[in-house]
C-alpha cells in the first residue's frame, strides 16, 4: 500500500477531478488558494477550464454561466470571499444551479486572520443567502475527507441542483498529511438528470425534487432567471405558483436529509457520555477519547460530516442511550444550538474556542472530566 502525501486543499481538488469537475473559477485567498493552484494544474491537461476571476463575485458568475451550459463547476474561497459570493449563492439556490463551493475557513470576523483556522462560517453558510432556503454543507476532518466529500458534494449538487458547500478549515486545507488515496471510499458518480420529454418547462418538477436539466446552448431553448419564476422560467406574481416553488426548494433538501447524512461514530456500550464534533476538532476529540479509554474512562464520539441539512434522525438515534452530550466546536458555539434543538430533552454541555489555534486533546479531556 502506497501512501499519498498532500494538503487537504490538493485532496479536495483531486476529489473534484474524480467527480468529473470540468470548470473552476476562483479568486486567490489564503487559505483556499492552493485549491485554485491545484485545479489550474489539473484541469487543462484534462480539457477542463480554469479561470481566475477579476473578483469573487465574477468568479461565481463564471461558475453559474458554465454550470448552466452543463459544466460541473467548483469554486474555492474563504470567509471574506463567501461574503462576496452571497448574492450569487442566492441566485444559484433560488434558480437551482448546481455548483460546489469550497470554503476553507479562517478566523473571522471580516478579514480576520488569513493564516489562522476556525470554523467561522458554519451559520453563515446556512443563512448567508436571501430567503432561508436550506443548503447542503459538508465538513471534512482531514485530507482524506476532503477527497471523498468533494465527490459527495458534486453528487448532491447534481442530484438536487443546488450549491453544495464544503466547509473545510485552514488547519485541514493547508496541512499536509499522508493517506491512502487509492483505496478511498468514493461513492459512485451521480450525473445531472436531463430532461427527456416533449415540452420543456425549465422549472417543472416533482413536489420535492429538482427539475430535470437542459443546458443553455442545446437544441431546446432554456430560460434561467434570478427572478421569482413559475415552471416556465418567466416572472410570476401568482401566490400559489410562488408558494409551490418555495415549498419545493425547501423540501427537495429537507426531505432528503437522511440521504445527505454523513458521519463517523465510535459508540461504546459502557459509556454514558457522547461527544459530538465536526471538522478538524473531531480529530482531537477522537484522540481524547482514546487516551481516556486507556485511563479507564469510556467516551463515545460522533463526528458529523454533514451539518446542513441538520441530520436530525441521526442525532436522535445516536444520542438516545447517553446521559450526557458534549458538543465541541472551533468557534464560540455555532452548531450547538441545532443539537440542543434536536436533542431538547438532553443535558448538553458545550466547549468552544476561537483563538486561532486548534482545540487540543488535553483541553477536550479537561472538558469531559469536569462534568
Amino acid at each position: 500500500m502506497a501512501l499519498s502525501f498532500m494538503e487537504g486543499n490538493e485532496a479536495l481538488a483531486r476529489g473534484a477531478i474524480a467527480a468529473g469537475c470540468n470548470f473552476f473559477a476562483g479568486y486567490p485567498i489564503t487559505p483556499a488558494t492552493t485549491i485554485f493552484n491545484s485545479m489550474l494544474e489539473m484541469l487543462p491537461p484534462q480539457g477542463g477550464i480554469c479561470i481566475q476571476g477579476e473578483d469573487e463575485i465574477a468568479s461565481m458568475g463564471y461558475c453559474i454561466g458554465a454550470s448552466m451550459a452543463g459544466k460541473k463547476v467548483l469554486t474555492a474561497t474563504s470567509g471574506p470571499g463567501i461574503s462576496l459570493y452571497s448574492e450569487q449563492i442566492s441566485f444559484a439556490i433560488g434558480s437551482e444551479i448546481p455548483l460546489v463551493i469550497a470554503d476553507v475557513q479562517r478566523l473571522g470576523p471580516s478579514t480576520g486572520s488569513a493564516t489562522r483556522g476556525a470554523d467561522s462560517d458554519i451559520q453563515f453558510l446556512r443563512w448567508g443567502s436571501t430567503s432561508g432556503v436550506p443548503v447542503i454543507v459538508l465538513v471534512p476532518k482531514d485530507a482524506l475527507d476532503c477527497y471523498v466529500l468533494a465527490v459527495h458534494a458534486f453528487n448532491y449538487a447534481e442530484e438536487f441542483r443546488c450549491p453544495v458547500f464544503i466547509a473545510s478549515n485552514k488547519e485541514i486545507g493547508m496541512t499536509k498529511e499522508s493517506f491512502d488515496l487509492e483505496s478511498a471510499p468514493l461513492p459512485p458518480i451521480v450525473e445531472r438528470k436531463l430532461f427527456s420529454g416533449d415540452t420543456y418547462l425549465p422549472f417543472e418538477a416533482k413536489p420535492d425534487a429538482a427539475p430535470p436539466f437542459l443546458p443553455i446552448g442545446g437544441k431546446t431553448l432554456v430560460r434561467q432567471t434570478s427572478s421569482t419564476h413559475g415552471p416556465d422560467g418567466y416572472i410570476t406574481i401568482d401566490p400559489e405558483v410562488i408558494a409551490k416553488n418555495q415549498d419545493r426548494l425547501r423540501e427537495k433538501i429537507y426531505n432528503a436529509r437522511k440521504k445527505i447524512t454523513l458521519f463517523e461514530e465510535d459508540i461504546k456500550g459502557n459509556s454514558d457520555t457522547l461527544v459530538i464534533s465536526y471538522g478538524v476538532t473531531a480529530r482531537a476529540v477522537e484522540d481524547a477519547a482514546r487516551i481516556l479509554e486507556i485511563k479507564g474512562k469510556s467516551i463515545s464520539t460522533l463526528t458529523l460530516k454533514s451539518l446542513w441539512p441538520v441530520p436530525e434522525e441521526l442525532l436522535l438515534e445516536k444520542a438516545k442511550p447517553f446521559k450526557q452530550i458534549i458538543v465541541i466546536e472551533m468557534n464560540l458555539g455555532q452548531y450547538v444550538n441545532e443539537v440542543k434543538r434536536v436533542l431538547c430533552d438532553k443535558k448538553i454541555k458545550f466547549y468552544g474556542q476561537m483563538n486561532g489555534v486548534m482545540i487540543s486533546p488535553e483541553k477536550i479531556m479537561e472538558v469531559i472530566e469536569n462534568e
Binding site: 470548470f23 453559474i64 450569487q88 431553448l221
Partner: protein
C-alpha cells in the same frame, strides 16, 4: 423577415421608451445574421434592460445586478459555439464596472449592448454613472457633485477591440448591432436613449438631442485598431492545450521496516530562505518510506522573503489525529526569529528531547538534551542548514535514519540535486 421575437410576450415599455426600438433593432440584427436561436443566448442585467430576455425566442439568462457579463463569460467559455449577447443599462454599467473592464481586457467573444438612458428608470429616476451633472434627477442634488463617465473612452483604454456608439433610435442600429455581434472578440455598443417614464419628464431630451450628443462626442464606429489581438477563448484554449501533463498524486510505498518506532514530533525553527518547508517535506518523505503516517504544518509570514519559517511534523505508526505539537521529540533551532516564534515551547521540553542548536542561535532555558553545531565552521551555507540538520538527525537516529533520509532525498530531488544534498550532509559527519 424572420423574427426572433416572442409573440406571447411583447415589449412592455413606457410609451416612447427607446428600449422598445432597440428590442426591434436587435431582432433585425439577429435576422440579418441569420443566427440559430438554439446557439444564441441573451444575458440580461437588472432594470428595464433586464426585460430583454423575455421578448426573444432564444436561450435566456437573467441574473443579479451588474453581473451579466460574468454569466455571459461562463457560458461562452463553456460553449464557444454560443452567440452571447448581453443587455445592460447605465445602472449595470456602474455597479458592474469591474466586469466591464475585465471583459475589455480579456476580449472574450461577447457582445455588450449598453442601453444608456442617463438614469435609473425602474427605481424612480435616480442618477447613474452616466447622468449629466446638470440633469434634474430623482436623487435631488447628488448628480451635481459628480461627473458622468464616457464608457467608450474607458473601454478603449481598457483594451476593447470593438466599440460603437449611436442613438438607440438610429435607423442603422440593426446593422451596427450585427457588426458588433460579428466581431470576433469583445464588442461594446453604447446606445443613447430616452427614458420617457422618468428622465425626459424633467430634462429636455429628444431624438434630435440624442443625435447631437453623438455628433458632439468622440466618434466610435467599430474596430479599435490599436487594441486588435486574438480572441480570449481561442488564446486560452491554445495555451491550455500545451499543458498536457496531469500531475499525479505523490504516492510512496513502504521500503524500510523499522523495529519499535515511537511517534515523533519534529519542530524546525528557521527563517525564510532557509528551505525549512523543503526540509519538513523530506522528513515526511523519510517517514513515509518507513511506512509511517505523517503530517506537516507550516507557519510563515505572508511576505515570504523574510521572517520566521516554522515546520511542525508528526511521524507515527498510528493514524494521526490532532496535528498540533504536544511533546516534541526533535527540535532544530536554526534561527533566532524561528525560536522566538515558539519560545514558550522550550520550557516544556522533556529531558530526552533532542535539540540541535546552531551556534549563532540563542534558545530559552530548557531541560532538553541540547547539541550545538557550528555550520559556519563546516562551511555550510545558511540556506542548507535545515538540510544539514537532517543529516545530524539521521546520524543520531533521531526520528529518521540514514536509509530513510537517502530514500527521501532521492525521491524529492533530481539525481544532480541529490548528489549535492548528500555532499552537504556528509560534511556534518565530521562534526
Amino acid at each position: 423577415m424572420n423574427s426572433y421575437l416572442n409573440k406571447n410576450r411583447p415589449p412592455v415599455y413606457c410609451p416612447g421608451c427607446t428600449h422598445e426600438k432597440i428590442t426591434n433593432s436587435l431582432d433585425r440584427a439577429f435576422d440579418r445574421l441569420n443566427l440559430s436561436a438554439d446557439k444564441t443566448v441573451i444575458v440580461t442585467d437588472i432594470g428595464c434592460s433586464g426585460l430583454f430576455d423575455t421578448f426573444f425566442n432564444v436561450h435566456a439568462l437573467h441574473g443579479v445586478h451588474g453581473r451579466a457579463l460574468t454569466y455571459a463569460s461562463g457560458l461562452k467559455l463553456a460553449d464557444p459555439e454560443l452567440n452571447v449577447i448581453v443587455t445592460m443599462g447605465d445602472g449595470g454599467l456602474g455597479i458592474g464596472g469591474a466586469h466591464v473592464l475585465a471583459s475589455c481586457r480579456r476580449n472574450l467573444d461577447l457582445t455588450l449592448i449598453i442601453l444608456n438612458n442617463f438614469n435609473f428608470g425602474m427605481t424612480g429616476g435616480q442618477y447613474s454613472a452616466t447622468t449629466p451633472t446638470d440633469a434634474v434627477v430623482g436623487s435631488q442634488f447628488l448628480n451635481q457633485a459628480e461627473i458622468p463617465l464616457d464608457i467608450c473612452a474607458i473601454a478603449q483604454s481598457a483594451g476593447a477591440t470593438y466599440i460603437d456608439r449611436c442613438s438607440g433610435l438610429d435607423a442603422d442600429l440593426p446593422e451596427k448591432i450585427a457588426g458588433a455581434v460579428k466581431h470576433k472578440g469583445f464588442s461594446i455598443i453604447e446606445t443613447l436613449g430616452m427614458c420617457t417614464g422618468r428622465y425626459t419628464k424633467k430634462n429636455r431630451l429628444t431624438p434630435k438631442v440624442l443625435d447631437q450628443m453623438i455628433i458632439d462626442s468622440p466618434e466610435r464606429c467599430g474596430i479599435i485598431e490599436e487594441n486588435q489581438r486574438p480572441e480570449y477563448g481561442e488564446r486560452y484554449r491554445a495555451l491550455a492545450k500545451e499543458r498536457n501533463t496531469f500531475p499525479e498524486a505523490v504516492a510512496i510505498e513502504k521500503k524500510i521496516t523499522l523495529k519499535e518506532y515511537q511517534r515523533q514530533e519534529v519542530v524546525i525553527l528557521g527563517s525564510a530562505g532557509m528551505r525549512i518547508v523543503t526540509a519538513g517535506d523530506i522528513v515526511c518523505y523519510a517517514g513515509l518510506y518507513a511506512g509511517m503516517n505523517v503530517s506537516m504544518k507550516n507557519d510563515y509570514n505572508i511576505t515570504v522573503l523574510r521572517g520566521q519559517s516554522v515546520s511542525e511534523i508528526l511521524i507515527s505508526p498510528e493514524k494521526i489525529g490532532y496535528t498540533g505539537i504536544e511533546s516534541p521529540t526533535v527540535v532544530l533551532a536554526l534561527s533566532d526569529e524561528g525560536v522566538q516564534r515558539r519560545k514558550k515551547m522550550f520550557a516544556t521540553l522533556k529531558p530526552d528531547t533532542f535539540v540541535l542548536k546552531e551556534k549563532s542561535v540563542t534558545i530559552p532555558e530548557t531541560r532538553a538534551d541540547v547539541v550545538e553545531i557550528d555550520f559556519r565552521e563546516l562551511k555550510i551555507k545558511k540556506q542548507d542548514w535545515a538540510l544539514a540538520s537532517l543529516g545530524v538527525m539521521a546520524k543520531k537516529e533521531n526520528a529518521i535514519n540514514k536509509t530513510m533520509l537517502k530514500h527521501a532525498l532521492k525521491s524529492r530531488f533530481s539525481e544532480k540535486v541529490y548528489q549535492v544534498a548528500m555532499e552537504t550532509i556528509e560534511k556534518t559527519t565530521q562534526a
